[in-house]
């Protein structure tokens, strides 16, 4: 597996030293003489590999260490400990050949020049990345097509809406056809249509170029549409690495049981079967502890007039929320569920 891996991280850690000061004038004066600092462990010995062509969702609540990890992988940050290689390069050495083959898109940071038309930023990137003219033309045409940029190219960045700007940012970041994409919240602040379009675009780009994508998003729709595999970190520690579908098996302590009843509940108190989530016109949704799923469904079928019954994992959003609300119990990497090697 490791020969194929484009991104390989081993025990990567990052500790920030932050200045600390209490509120108030006295504290401000005291801090002149003696600075208090505190070490913040942003990323705590995480290890994983990503194979060529994979799209991996990198999940975690705010402050989990996702962006810090992406910054280390794109060469903006030096790790405190551990190692990482991407495409065979050590990212923080910022080798130019590496920088030419990767891209980092951050939802709130932009490379488009504010005052000039979008196409002129593209032109500048052509020069900086030394993209041959024919390849550049082809790239602009393709991106214009896929992202519907035609009406935007001649407009100065400052006249674009947030969604339009994001599309152009993504295009600018991909003109040099990077083979590794780090996407940090690429759909943040966009409406549903635009989110869907960007998702579709990422899939297309990945299919066409075989690029490897590591993506963070707070929108589970992004993750469900794009990523078979997810890596979850919390408080800087790796919690889960495996198939998206396995996340619920591992973390959701509940199943959702939907029951359709012929004659309503027939006077039976439904709460005895599990937590009542919804109840309307003979349709009942219950939340049942995972371990009791079999016995409870058995009882439901035996005791009520059931016309239909489905057992489901809870929505992925609920699972994630549940994971994040727990205190972290990190996985050992040997223990983590990775997808089978190709």
């Amino acid at each position: 597996m490791e020969q194929d891996s484009v991104i390989h991280i081993d025990q990567l850690s990052k500790v920030y030293t932050v200045n600390e000061r209490e509120a108030g004038l006295v504290a401000a004066m005291r801090s002149l003489v003696k600075r208090k600092t505190r070490a913040v462990q942003a990323v705590d010995s995480i290890s994983f590999s990503v194979n060529e062509g994979e799209i991996v969702g990198f999940l975690g609540p705010n402050g989990a260490g996702k962006t810090t990890t992406l910054k280390m992988l794109s060469g903006l940050l030096h790790p405190t400990a551990g190692s990482a290689t991407v495409l065979g390069f050590r990212p923080w050495e910022r080798n130019r050949d590496y920088l030419r083959r990767m891209t980092l898109v951050m939802g709130q940071r932009n490379q488009l020049l504010w005052d000039i038309p979008v196409i002129d930023t593209f032109e500048l990137n052509r020069a900086v990345y030394r993209i041959p003219e024919p390849q550049f033309r082809l790239g602009v045409d393709e991106l214009t097509d896929l992202l519907d940029l035609e009406p935007l190219l001649q407009k100065p960045t400052r006249n674009l809406s947030l969604g339009e700007r994001m599309k152009c940012e993504i295009a600018a970041a991909l003109l040099h056809r990077p083979s590794v994409l780090f996407l940090d919240e690429p759909t943040i602040g966009l409406d549903v249509t635009m989110q869907r379009r960007i998702r579709q675009f990422i899939t297309d780009y990945n299919m066409r170029t075989g690029a490897t994508v590591l993506l963070t998003s707070h929108y589970m729709a992004d993750v469900e549409a794009l990523c078979k595999r997810v890596i979850v970190i919390h408080h800087g520690k790796l919690l889960y690495d495996g198939e998206l579908t396995g996340l619920a098996d591992r973390f959701a302590p509940f199943k959702t049981v939907e029951v359709e009843l012929h004659n309503g509940a027939g006077g039976q108190p439904l709460a005895q079967y599990g937590e009542l989530m919804a109840h309307s016109e003979g349709r009942v949704t219950l939340r049942i502890p995972k371990a009791e799923t079999a016995s409870v469904t058995g009882r439901l079928l035996a005791e009520l007039e059931v016309s239909d019954l489905t057992v489901q994992d809870p929505p992925i959003e609920d699972v994630i929320e549940h994971v994040f609300s727990q205190s972290p119990t990190p996985l050992d990497n040997s223990d983590s569920q990775r997808p089978p090697s190709e």
């Binding site: 794109s74 891209t103 980092l104 940071r109 020049l113 020069a127 900086v128």
Partner: protein, 267 residues
Amino acid sequence: MFAYYPIYKGYFRTALMVQFQYRIAMLIWLLGGIIEPLMYLVVWRTVSEQQGGSVGGYETNDFVVYFIAMMMVSHATFTWIMWEYVYRIRMGLFSVMLLKPIHPIHSDIADNIGYKFLTLTVMGPLTLLLAWFFEATWQPLPWTLAAFVPVLILAFLMRFYWEWSLAMVAFWTTRIDAMNQAYIVVGLFFSGKLAPLSLFPEIVQRAADILPFRWMLAFPVELLLGRITPRELLIGIGAQLFWLLAGYLFMQFIYRAGIKRYAAFGA
């Protein structure tokens, strides 16, 4: 070297486009660069006239030519990078620059030259206008004119490298306005901006010899005025080369250290 040509072309083109968007801001900046030497010109011209037409070896006309030349040289060599960097780091723009496969100094050089190129259209006629208005007479020597070109380029480069390096202090603290101000005040005295250096006490002149400021401004200006002997020219170019090399090495060192710090503390 040639590999950078298309990149510089790209940056240059972009710089011109951006600056066209800020015509008014550009003119206001320009005004600042014009008014300061003009003020000194008027003051010294008045002093000279009251002293009977000469102060410390400078006649009234020499003061006029000196400050017009100072205005041009100062304009040609000035940078705004020390303010720019604080903004860049505060706004996170520097990260974007770091992700590009090229050293960020190149876009700054191109940007600077782009601005100078555009403002030449104002500075050129203005110089002639001032010369006419103050009835300046100037008879340049051909060899000093020829020497002026490389001397000005060296002055530009050494000033650029030094100010670019000092701007890196923004990696350690983003409150560098006080440092910038100190740099400007010290420079004002030792560069010959405030008054020709020969008017200062001996000790200031000797200090100016060993500091870089003089070689950035006063030296090219005095060369234009024909106040430099060939021997002094060689010494001056030597000093410029020394400071350029020192500035370059300092830049390499502080840039690496700065990036390391930036990368350690969070980009």
